[in-house]
Symmetry: C2
Subunit: 266 residues, 2 copies
């Protein structure tokens, strides 16, 4: 998928919502747990219920790996149910020496054809380059994350700059807005504006709205740019909005609320 | 597995060798490629040929994920063939917000019962703690890696210290030698001595010997401590030592050479 296609989809939908499929068997409605392939059934219902209000889906690989090989089949089946119009993100936070990162790129860009993968920056250039070599695929590098632990290392001063600023600025030079995005946590809305100064053109993937407490209004004010430049993710707030038989309608309602709010900011 | 068991195994074998199973279908001997479940057959032959000379196996998850769900089955089958005496490492380089890291810990400590997993430090304490909560399991955090990209961020100065020194010192305080090890690349032998000053007691997992050019002699001189404290990994140098029908004997021969050299340093 190209940057142009992503932006067009956002403008036509009036939404920059990404729905995070962090699906745990124990948290899906009890009536679904009793049927075969329950997680796939749940994910399909959530996708059908939310696809009109979002432009992207983010599959958190951890929740599928916890189920072993079967989890990878579930991840594939889920991916194939997502409409081709929607941007498909593997939230995998991978990164290793060059020949190993090349295998991860193959795993998530070829074997399971996602449009994008999240990548950890610690190991530097040769750990990230293999992902960037794919055309019309996006590498989404961790910049400033939404968790408390972001204060431990990401916020260390390296010379004049914070480590996360240094990382974002350096890595931005290894790619372009056509193949590189950054993760910036919504719980760090006050830093989004300064990150926008470093990378005016790259898309930001912003988790942490909803369950983690980030404000969509503040994130949007600081993060939107001339070609939107923003994907805001909500996972638990949407997919676990309801616990009963009408869970998909509940999810749809919450996704719609996000979409309506986003339409106002575009 | 406990620290005591690892050390005892090393002393009885006179080896601190870890064999890395970074298996690619295209690189295994041609005669094996033609049989069903070729990667498992290759891994089993390598394990049988090397188990007398090593104390640990490291499975690089990227190479298995590149094969999709089938790759995860291959990873499980491979793991089950490793003798119970040997320390089993998932080289997965995971790390995410707390509730997600808990899922990764479940994936690699429960669903597929490894003894240890490699973890990326960037996201800080809540990304690492869920792994440390498992008793008799080891979290192996990236300290200073063996690749060229280590210079990009790991070697940045944060105040008086390099980032990797800061990370090792901080994270060492979150666990103990009973549940925490660090990855230190063999290509950085000159830094291993200074890392030993920061963490005199934790085991170091040292990749980069062999194909990547690190020196076993230098690594051993700088890294060994009173309870050994060292696992040195070789992957490609051992598993791809031979390309013909006697590939396993070739692998065995190289593993034996490492073991004999290590016996001299112990």
């Amino acid at each position: 998928m190209t940057l142009e296609q992503i932006t067009q989809h956002i403008l036509s939908k009036k939404s920059y919502l990404c729905v995070g499929l962090d699906t745990e068997f124990s948290k899906i409605p009890v009536h679904l747990q009793q049927q075969p392939n329950a997680v796939v059934a749940f994910n399909k219902a959530i996708i059908d219920a939310t696809k009109d209000y979002c432009v992207a889906y983010k599959i958190n690989t951890a929740f599928y790996e916890a189920m072993g090989a079967k989890g990878w089949q579930i991840m594939e089946e889920t991916l194939h149910h997502i409409p081709s119009t929607h941007f498909k993100i593997a939230d995998a936070k991978r990164g290793d020496i060059g020949n190993t990162s090349a295998q991860y790129a193959k795993a998530f860009f070829e074997t399971i054809p996602f449009d994008a993968i999240t990548v950890a920056p610690y190991m530097g250039e040769d750990s990230i380059k293999p992902f960037l070599e794919y055309k019309n695929k996006f590498t989404i590098v961790l910049g400033l994350t939404s968790n408390k632990g972001a204060n431990d290392f990401e916020m260390l001063k390296t010379g004049e700059k914070y480590l996360y600023e240094n990382i974002i600025e350096t890595i931005a030079g290894w790619g372009s807005q056509e193949n590189l995005m950054f993760v910036v946590g919504a719980t760090q809305a006050n830093q989004i504006a300064s990150i926008r100064n470093i990378i005016p053109n790259n898309f930001l993937l912003v988790p942490g709205v909803g369950f983690q407490g980030g404000s969509l209004k503040e994130v949007s004010a600081a993060g939107l740019n001339s070609h939107v430049g923003l994907l805001v993710n909500a996972s638990r707030a949407i997919i676990y909005a309801g616990e009963k038989e009408n869970f998909a309608e509940d999810a749809s309602e919450i996704a719609k609320q996000y979409q309506v709010e986003m339409a106002g900011y575009l």
